[in-house]
Amino acid sequence: MSIQNLNTFDPFADAIKGSDDDVQDGLVHIRIQQRNGRKTLTTVQGLSSDYDLKKIVRACKKEFACNGTVIDHQEYGEVLQLQGDQRENICQWLTKTGLAKPDQLKVHGF
């Protein structure tokens, strides 16, 4: 155990660190929508526009073995859309690749 008061503490460490390696800011909303029958769609909204969403979707399609597109929405920007319930997959993948932190992911739906 060390004496905490004697430690040098840089209060701005977080801020400095946050600015350079964190491209993603704000929440990534992951939603699910029911289609006809037991089919579903997964949408990923709020990924930073600095990322190349087309490349992301290409990787996701390959990884999850599903189809998907990037949809340009005037209000929400570019939205990733994947077929099937990929909520778990996309959460894991986004954290694994470091595109978003686990606390930035917000999963909606049932």
């Binding site: 939603r31 699910i32 929508q33 029911q34 769609l41 949408t43 929400y76 939205v79 909606h108 049932f110």
Partner: protein, 319 residues
């Protein structure tokens, strides 16, 4: 986390009940005002146990419990229950909505609904009854065991075990400050949502209004949240049930409800469910009645909705 998790958890409810019964003994010994409430509670329990001839009355009691679950004012509960014991059956049903202070404006609307749904509830209640009986018996058995064990060493010379000491210290704590006990007992037990499929494409959430009432939230707010979370459309129909488009199971609805409770019902600071949701300059604020904290909560946004219907139909509508 624990509290949100526990909301639908029967296990925890049981545990709490156990504690409460312990307290009964303690309170009896102490002779303070608390035991009145306890006794009345056991009385209601007994009434619930009683077979159907008392059905309506029991039903009323249950509803009342539901109303006051969110609050920790046990004292308030006591007179009401007593009243109800004395009251005849139909009167009991009328009283359901009246005594709560929480839901204020909604109550008038709900009262009517409740009466309508009475017949339905009866059927369901019988099932509950059986469970209750079984649970109660088990509890009592547990109870006695524990009780005996905790008292065993008092007279004897042998060493006490950790568990015995633990029960003892908790007993003392409850004896000394009944308020804390009341706080502990502010359990937030909810009926599980009743979800039934209507046909192949729609789902009915039968006790939607009841749950709104339990949570002390406006129907519209919960409705907005549910629909935006599930990404569908739906409405409340004449029988005060919510009809949602799409297939959903009870578990799924339960999940969403749990998230709602976490965000909009339990206090973010002290996790007490005793909160009020206010709208203030376009923002919703959660005001806690227990700790007095006030914080803003996320607004309900549906976000991006993909096109799932027929595109031709949409085109026809817009053009």
């Amino acid at each position: 986390m624990t509290e949100e998790d526990s909301i639908f958890d029967p296990q925890l409810k049981k545990k709490k009940k156990k504690k409460k019964n312990f307290d009964l003994d303690a309170a009896l010994a102490d002779g303070n005002s608390n035991d009145g409430t306890e006794r009345s509670e056991t009385a209601t329990d007994k009434e619930n146990l009683e077979p159907p001839q008392n059905d309506v009355d029991g039903d009323a009691d249950e509803n009342l419990d539901l109303d006051s679950f969110g609050k920790k004012k046990k004292k308030k509960k006591k007179p009401l229950n007593l009243e109800e014991l004395e009251a005849t059956l139909p009167e009991g049903t009328n009283k359901i909505g009246a005594p709560t202070e929480g839901g204020d404006e909604e109550i008038e609307d709900f009262d009517l609904d409740m009466d309508f749904s009475m017949t339905k509830k009866k059927k369901k209640k019988k099932k509950d009854l059986d469970e209750l009986v079984a649970e109660e018996e088990k509890e009592r058995a547990d109870e006695k065991d524990l009780e005996n064990e905790s008292q065993k060493w008092v007279g004897s010379d042998r060493d006490y075990t950790y568990d015995e000491l633990l029960t003892r210290v908790f007993g003392i704590m409850r004896d000394k400050n009944p308020e804390m006990v009341a706080g502990k007992k502010a359990k937030f037990v909810m009926r599980p949502p009743q979800v039934v499929r209507i046909g192949t494409k729609k789902t009915s959430f039968a006790n939607f209004t009841e749950i709104c009432k339990t949570l002390h939230r406006a129907q519209k707010h919960l409705l907005d949240f549910l629909l935006s979370e599930l990404g569908t459309s739906g409405s409340v129909d004449g029988n005060s049930q919510l009809i949602i488009k799409g297939r959903f199971q009870q578990k799924q609805i339960e999940n969403v409800l749990r998230r709602y409770i976490k965000e909009y019902v339990t206090c973010h600071t002290c996790r007490s469910p005793d909160t009020i949701l206010q709208k203030d300059t376009r923002l919703f604020f959660l005001q806690c009645e227990t700790c007095g904290s006030r914080c803003s909560v996320a607004s309900i946004k549906s976000g991006f909705q993909a096109v799932t219907g027929k595109r031709a139909a949409i085109r026809a509508k817009t053009a």
